[in-house]
């Protein structure tokens, strides 16, 4: 017999539905195809990076440099294009730069054994700085019309942005890999107990390196999407996205302590935040309110499971649950029992 367990990711799914319903009730301009396309387009870059960040946080690591990596990829694309490289090649260049950012983070964390929180605060500054080195004070604009129309336009005859196709494909892959392949299992196992994972023959360091690399690559993909959507590459784009992305992932039920989370919870969370933003704007709240709502949602996402847990105290022979989850997992951890 299976108990139906309430888990936060299901809560987020319900929350998304409720948010859509409230938005529909409160604003005539909310529930239509055009608004949906705006919401989808707005969350694309966040969502693409969040997919990779989900893996990373589940494995017990974190990457604060993603927004800078996104921008460095965008800046590299612009730099190459301005230098006369064909646009298609420049896109590949941007993707490779994103990948390189991720690999560098991964190298510092897995090979040198440095804590990812500290490392990626440093590379946050480094990658942003390199964007300035590449572009100086000159943003790149006048990108090829065709590509901009892909970046901003919609699929002919529909309301769906082209970038949504990319997002759906990437999300499907991410969901499949996380929940239906051994690589996903490895990710969870490493997050629950990295040492036991190593003793179970899981290539812990290689997996983590791959996860950092993938996060960098997704930042690169997001960087390309970002460049096309805003028809320009500049050194100061996407500032501060990193905390928003991490907030979205955590809101989606991924535990900062590692080992817990679902892909669809994260997707629902990213969409929820887009929907709420839209609903708040359309009902006349200011941008400041969105900050408050984001913060409140984040807190609720960690408080709510505590409350449900307290409500149905499961019988446990261990007595007091002493697994206190803190930021420490970002550094090193040695659970004591």
């Amino acid at each position: 017999m299976r108990r139906w367990n309430f888990s936060w990711d299901k809560g987020v799914g319900i929350f998304l539905i409720v948010a859509v319903m409230i938005g529909t009730l409160l604003s005539d301009n909310f529930a239509n195809a055009s608004n949906l396309s705006f919401v989808l387009r707005d969350v694309t870059e966040f969502a693409i990076i969040a997919l990779a960040m989900t893996f990373l946080i589940i494995s017990g690591e974190i990457d604060l440099s993603v927004a800078s990596a996104l921008n460095l990829s965008s800046a590299s694309l612009g730099f190459l294009y301005r230098a006369g490289v064909p646009f298609e090649l420049a896109i590949i260049g941007g993707l490779l730069v994103g990948l390189a950012c991720g690999l560098f983070n991964g190298y510092l964390v897995t090979k040198l054994g440095l804590p990812s929180l500290a490392v990626t605060i440093a590379t946050l500054a480094l990658y942003r700085g390199l964007s300035y080195v590449l572009l100086g004070n000159q943003p790149v604009n006048e990108l090829p019309e065709f590509w901009i129309s892909i970046g901003y336009g919609r699929i002919l005859g529909t309301f769906l942005p082209w970038s949504t196709i990319l997002l759906v494909v990437l999300a499907a892959i991410a969901w499949f890999v996380l929940h239906h392949t051994r690589y996903g299992r490895w990710t969870f196992a490493i997050g629950v107990n990295a040492e036991a994972a190593r003793f179970s023959g899981i290539p812990v360091e290689r997996t983590k390196l791959m996860l950092f690399a993938m996060t960098g690559l997704m930042a690169g993909v997001a960087g390309v999407v970002y460049t096309l959507r805003f028809a320009s590459a500049s050194p100061d784009g996407a500032v501060g996205y990193e905390l928003s992305i991490i907030a979205a992932v955590l809101f989606g039920g991924v535990s900062i302590a590692g080992g817990v989370g679902t892909m669809w919870g994260v997707i629902a969370a990213v969409l929820s935040l887009g929907v709420i933003r839209s609903a708040l704007q359309l009902t006349g709240f200011t941008a400041n309110s969105l900050l408050i709502v984001s913060g409140a949602l984040l807190l609720i996402s960690v408080i709510a499971p505590k409350i449900t847990e307290a409500l149905r105290k499961r019988p446990s022979a261990l007595g007091k649950d002493n697994t206190k989850k803190t930021i420490r997992e970002v550094g090193n951890e040695k659970p004591t029992h």
Partner: protein, 358 residues
């Protein structure tokens, strides 16, 4: 003060309640759109236009004055104007609000572009949806000028740049090296002005130079952030100990420079573009002799007129066309630009009056 805090607190609570309970009722408790302008009855407006007034960011004081002018015009024209925008001055953040403008079917959008490129596709989409777009205070890139009807700018770019050079020349006795404390490296306005300063200083004042030998070495970026601007001010002093004057063509930069100059008792002359209300203490105590700025109230005011007149069919934004706002008339010049005129300067003589205005 107390009321505001309580209001903020209540709003936070209300928002949290919406989130926590997922109930609908609260959203109607309060909204923070601008108070509708006092509806002075107007004769000329047969229909009431809805116009979105979008600053680079709603939290910047300068734009409160800009919005004041816009609201005044709206009241005169019988239009309904909503002051909406992001809380961070970036293009991508602004795009989300341009989307809202499209979604809510506004008739016109008056916007100060936070990013000269990033918002262009969104503006084009808005234009395609039939929205009249006027940029004011900050324009989109010249290549994308067709994304808007017309732009209202304070003065010709070269004039703002050269005026600032003239101010600093006067203060340093037309001698010595000068550095620039700008906003962000990608700030379009500042970059255009700085470009105009470069050759002008070299040609007009033979005994003056750019610190470090060229414009690029003399330019520092404070990112319109108080902390960073102060840091960069100090970087200028330590890198060029002989610097005679600093031009800060940004309200954040000039304020930071004035404060730091006063704190350190530095002798370097400082001028630039500053809000009189913010700069008044420094002008009054002699830290700063002169700063300049156009009147942001006028910028907002004229932009709303341009938008409404165009919707009424009385103005088409083409080069050479003219329109009247209040008691002044404006002509559109090459590039689809209408200029307000020379920047105002503020000194000890007039600061007392202007600090009360904006």
């Amino acid at each position: 003060m107390k009321n505001r805090l309580i209001k903020s607190g209540l709003r936070t609570f209300a928002l949290s309640a919406v989130v926590a309970l997922g109930i609908a009722g609260c959203a109607s408790t309060e909204t923070v759109t601008e108070e509708p302008a006092e509806s002075t009855e107007t004769s000329e407006a047969a229909e009431s236009y809805r116009i979105a007034i979008m600053p680079k960011a709603i939290n910047i004081g300068y734009f409160a004055a800009w919005d004041e002018g816009a609201q005044k015009a709206c009241a005169e024209l019988g239009a309904t104007c909503d002051y909406i925008g992001p809380n961070e001055a970036t293009g991508p953040a602004q795009v989300q609000f341009i989307n809202q403008v499209i979604q809510e079917g506004y008739d016109a959008l008056v916007i100060s572009a936070a990013d000269q490129n990033a918002i262009v596709p969104a503006l084009q989409e808005a234009a395609a949806a039939g929205i009249t777009i006027v940029t004011s205070d900050a324009d989109v890139a010249a290549e994308s000028a067709d994304a808007r009807l017309v732009t209202i700018l304070p003065s010709a770019a070269d004039r703002i740049g050269t005026a600032e050079v003239d101010w600093i020349a006067e203060e340093v006795g037309e001698e010595g090296c000068v550095a620039i404390l700008s906003a962000s490296a990608t700030a379009a306005n500042q970059n255009v002005w700085i470009a105009a300063m470069g050759p002008y200083l070299e040609e007009t004042y033979p005994n003056m130079s750019w610190c470090g030998g060229d414009l690029e070495s003399a330019t520092f970026y404070g990112d319109d952030d108080a902390t960073k601007s102060v840091e960069q001010f100090n970087a200028i002093l330590s890198q060029y100990p002989d610097v005679a004057g600093i031009i800060a063509p940004t309200t954040v930069g000039v304020l930071a420079a004035a404060q730091e100059k006063k704190a350190k008792g530095a002798t370097v002359a400082v001028t630039g573009l500053g809000l009189p209300s913010e700069m008044a203490p420094y002008i009054e105590d002699g830290t700063i002799t002169k700063v300049g700025l156009w009147n942001p109230i006028d910028l907002g005011y004229v932009a709303v007129y341009a938008a409404v007149l165009s919707m009424q069919g009385e103005f088409d934004g083409s080069v050479g066309s003219t329109f009247t706002a209040g008691d002044a008339s404006y002509e559109v010049v090459e590039g689809g630009i209408a200029y307000l005129g020379d920047p105002f300067t503020f000194t000890i003589d007039n600061i007392a009056t202007f600090k009360e205005i904006y």
